[in-house]
Amino acid sequence: MPGTRMGSFVGKVLASTVVGLATICAGCLAQPGEPNELPRPPVVIPIIPGKLICEHPEMPATAFTPSRLMTRFEYDNTVRDLLGLPASMTPSSGFPAENRVNGFDNNAVAHVVSPLLVTNYIDAAEALSALALTSNRAALVPCDPAVITPNACGRQVIARLVPRAFRRPATPEETTALERFFDQALIDDDFDTAVRLVVQAILQSPQFLYRLEPGDPSVPGGQLMPLIGYPLAARLSYFLWGSGPDDLLLAAVADGSLDTTEGYRLQVQRMIADRRTRAAVRHFHTQWIETEKLATVTKDVRTFPDYDPALRASWAESVGRFVDDAYWNGGGLSAFLNDPGVWVDGPLARSLGYPAPPNGEWKKMDRDPTIYAGILTQPGIMAALALPNQGSPIRRGVFVRERLLCQTMPLPPPDVPTMPPDPAPNLTTRERFKAHTAAEYCRGCHVRIDPIGFALESFDGLGRFRATEAGKTIDVSGELRFLRDASAEGTIDGAVGLANKLAALPEVSDCVAKQWFRYAIGREVQTADNCSLVNVETAFVDSHGDFEVMLAAIAETDAFRYRVVGAGP
């Protein structure tokens, strides 16, 4: 029971060894000389994170997490679950995109309301309330206003909806205010309208839109306290499902079982096994491995005359199914990095030259494991990490550095030409991009990027395998250097060599854990989270890359089970 460890540990921030290699991309930092401007000194940031160490595992520690506003993904899931609407409904599709941090949409500091979003909430609530009343009336209105009076029936509507919408029992003040509003609406309008209006008010209430974690009068601001009960249930359900707690989870809070170690673990296991976790895992991947970009990816029909725009959706779904396999069919991280297979539907099969499955159906193709290996050889990933008229060793190399190794790559400096050379009839991509690593000025960064991207040159801008380019056999030799452990550095041979090397690196496993941890806690990882993150990394490595074990480990961390009380008023 975490409560026994509660107390005054905050402030004793754990020392860490995050120092890493504070290298910069030497040679990329000169500023252009301009009148009236002094060159800025380069700022040094750690590009290669070091291995984290947890120095005081006995002391619970974490950092402050602000209240969290629902993302579009969470809004859609929540209103569908709350009002019993079909899974195909995406009422937030017109909402503005959440402000992003580290690629993720759920940062508690960055994702805030805007006038546009507040207007969107109004419109969505109006549409949803009308829809729920017509399509799912019995779930919303458990009584007959003609039998028990409209006012009494309205009270039942409120009593039924509010605890699930607010993810906890309503306070008397909340209930009274809503009942008063309902009674007034009944004076001005008919019963159905009054129900619609009260549903709209609930859907726009801060108790619904935010996950609020109130403090405790006995715990001063800045102190650590265990998170229990309803707020803990909400953390769990939004982490694993991107939605509100279901009735079983709320019942586990009400009977106290969620606040026991055994009861908590039972709920975590039950929830991970639930289908809703699959959708949330997919959502995480659209951001972590950037497949959301496929929705608006541009391909040049002059280069790819047979490009079918339907591929955008097929690529994304294909990667989603591949991710499902790694997570839910026992393959784990090694399948994620090494499984040569690919899921295809009609458009994708035609693009890759496979026999097309029947219309609307999907089929997993076995592929040659000497050519294909894992996520980096998925056509959707290679097509996303490409330019309209060619692949992109740059985007692919940066992707491996940032998304799989959790390294930081600066943007190209201003006075460096960044126009990718156009495809040329007699030159391979490697030949065209030679200037990057030949010119001293570009080398500092590009020796980290291009030798990874070149290993993936077997895949064109549509993610299709090719053995030759410009009439020449493609040279897929590359290098993987600038790693946490210098002894692991070396040459690589093509996509399979790259995948094998990545699969053997503990820092890749740690990076996957870190990306999930970032997403789960919805804020920047702080020094005080070191022990939490180390525990997740360790659980993931020790389980040989079992994603379910890693998700469960996140739910066990101090960062998840404790909170730092906010500053006073």
């Binding site: 401007e37 040094v44 209240s67 941090v101 507040v118 403090g215 400096p413 201003p414 960044t418």
Partner: protein
């Protein structure tokens, strides 16, 4: 509907006849005495090709030759101020590389907050650190309109510091609406409905927002200060929208309903031209109808990885800008884009100028500021920004001139905007270190 038709139907031809009904004679007289001022920001990213941009100066500031990129703006030459020599000095004080700092300081006049966005120089930048000038102006002149301000985008995708211009306050970036259909529905909802229907919808919506505010009032007093601040910001927005709903006021139906634009895939090069057309039309009607007096129209963002196939410009916009003026092929593509943006700008000016308001036009009563986050892509410079101001804010600015400044801070220009919008008591804006008074010579 033909994708070109929207503007014609919704913008110009429909805009003209409803003016008479929109303004009573009394209001018209009032408009003459005290112009309804508007402030519009027009933005495109990644700098310009200076050789085709800056006018050729003549013997005096009124005698100059408009350059190649701006030929579409020639009909409005008398209503425009071209500038050179304005620098964005306020970008240099904080973290961030120039795309980030340029976006974050253009309208705020302040350096960026620290954060976790990685810049080209390896520094870690956050969001803009204060309210932007358009939002400050909206607080002053936007109180009486149905919308305090509107932010529209044309492929202004993305959601971090390189993608945002307007700020309600530090780190409170405002997202633009990139979908013309959604923008249309939001601005013109209810138009054309029967007055009693409009009244009923407004009454109900107002009552719901009152109930929402009551729920804010029941919130737990034990929340920390950070959370309370966040919720108060939210409550303020709800209150602001609630306050603007005038149940028994004149229906917006007196304003002619433009044609609803067709559904178009946002953030797509095939639809970009049509989306620009539609957004400009919507923006013009919203301003001409007095649905709002403050607006931003943001094209793309500082990442700008877009092609413009209809101009036969197939290069990646950002890549083109890095190559810049010394590479003739890339420079040619950028000039085509500069020319296209100028054509869009001129289209907006034309729609606002066609709307009479007293003895002036809406354009005359406005400032339509055209900004960029860089001056030249190849150097990522913030020196000599390509800033253009159209409209005189009801005669406040003297237009029809080319003003060559000597490396003055652009924050002074932002302060001038405040003054022009009727806030002459303001003595500074943004970071006071970079603001020592209004820009000399505009007024």
């Amino acid at each position: 509907m033909n994708r070109r038709q929207f503007l014609k139907n919704g913008g110009i031809t429909l805009a003209l006849p409803f003016l008479g009904s929109l303004l009573s004679r009394r209001a018209e007289a009032q408009a003459m005495a005290e112009p309804k001022k508007r402030f519009v920001t027009f933005f495109n990213p990644n700098g310009v090709i200076p050789a085709a941009w800056y006018p050729t100066a003549g013997p005096d500031e009124r005698t100059f030759t408009v350059n190649a990129s701006h030929q579409a703006m020639v009909p409005f030459k008398d209503k425009i101020i071209w500038t050179s020599g304005i620098d964005m000095k306020s970008s240099k004080a904080g973290p961030g590389e120039r795309h980030q700092t340029g976006m974050g300081t253009l309208l705020t006049g302040k350096p960026l907050l620290p954060g976790s966005f990685v810049g080209g120089d390896g520094s870690l930048a956050g969001w803009g650190s204060g309210i932007s000038v358009d939002q400050r102006i909206a607080q002053h002149i936007g109180a009486s309109t149905p919308f305090g301000s509107i932010e529209l985008g044309v492929r202004a995708s993305g959601a971090e510091v390189r993608h945002r211009l307007s700020y309600l306050g530090a780190a409170q970036a405002l997202p633009p609406e990139n979908d013309p259909r959604a923008a249309f529905d939001r601005l013109f909802a209810g138009m054309g409905s029967a007055p009693e229907e409009v009244r009923r919808i407004r009454r109900q919506r107002k009552s719901v927002l009152d109930a929402v505010m009551d729920q804010f009032g029941t919130l737990d007093a034990r929340l920390g200060r950070e959370d309370k601040d966040k919720l108060v910001n939210h409550l303020d927005l709800v209150r602001d929208i609630e306050r603007r709903i005038v149940v028994n006021g004149p229906g917006t139906a007196t304003c002619a309903v433009p044609t609803q634009p067709e559904v178009m895939a946002p953030d797509n090069e095939e639809t970009m031209e049509a989306i620009a057309d539609a957004q400009i039309g919507i923006l013009a009607v919203a301003l001409n109808c007095d649905l709002t007096r403050v607006a931003t129209l943001q094209f793309s963002n500082a990442e700008n990885h877009i092609r413009m196939p209809w101009l036969s410009s197939f290069g990646d916009g950002h890549g083109l800008s890095h190559a810049g003026p010394s590479s003739p092929v890339e420079a040619g593509e950028i000039m085509k884009r500069d020319h296209w943006y100028a054509t869009q700008y001129a289209k907006l000016l034309g729609l606002l100028d066609a709307q009479r308001e007293g003895d002036r036009s809406v354009l005359d009563n406005s400032i339509v500021f055209w900004g960029n986050e860089l001056s030249v892509g190849a150097t990522h410079s913030h020196v000599d920004m390509p800033f253009i101001i159209a409209g005189s804010a009801g005669g406040y600015f003297r237009t029809g001139r080319y003003l060559e400044f000597d490396h003055v801070s652009h924050v002074n220009m932002l302060l001038s905007f405040l003054h022009a919008m009727g806030m002459e008591e303001e003595t500074t804006f943004g970071d006071p270190e970079f603001c020592d008074g209004p820009l000399a010579g505009l007024h």
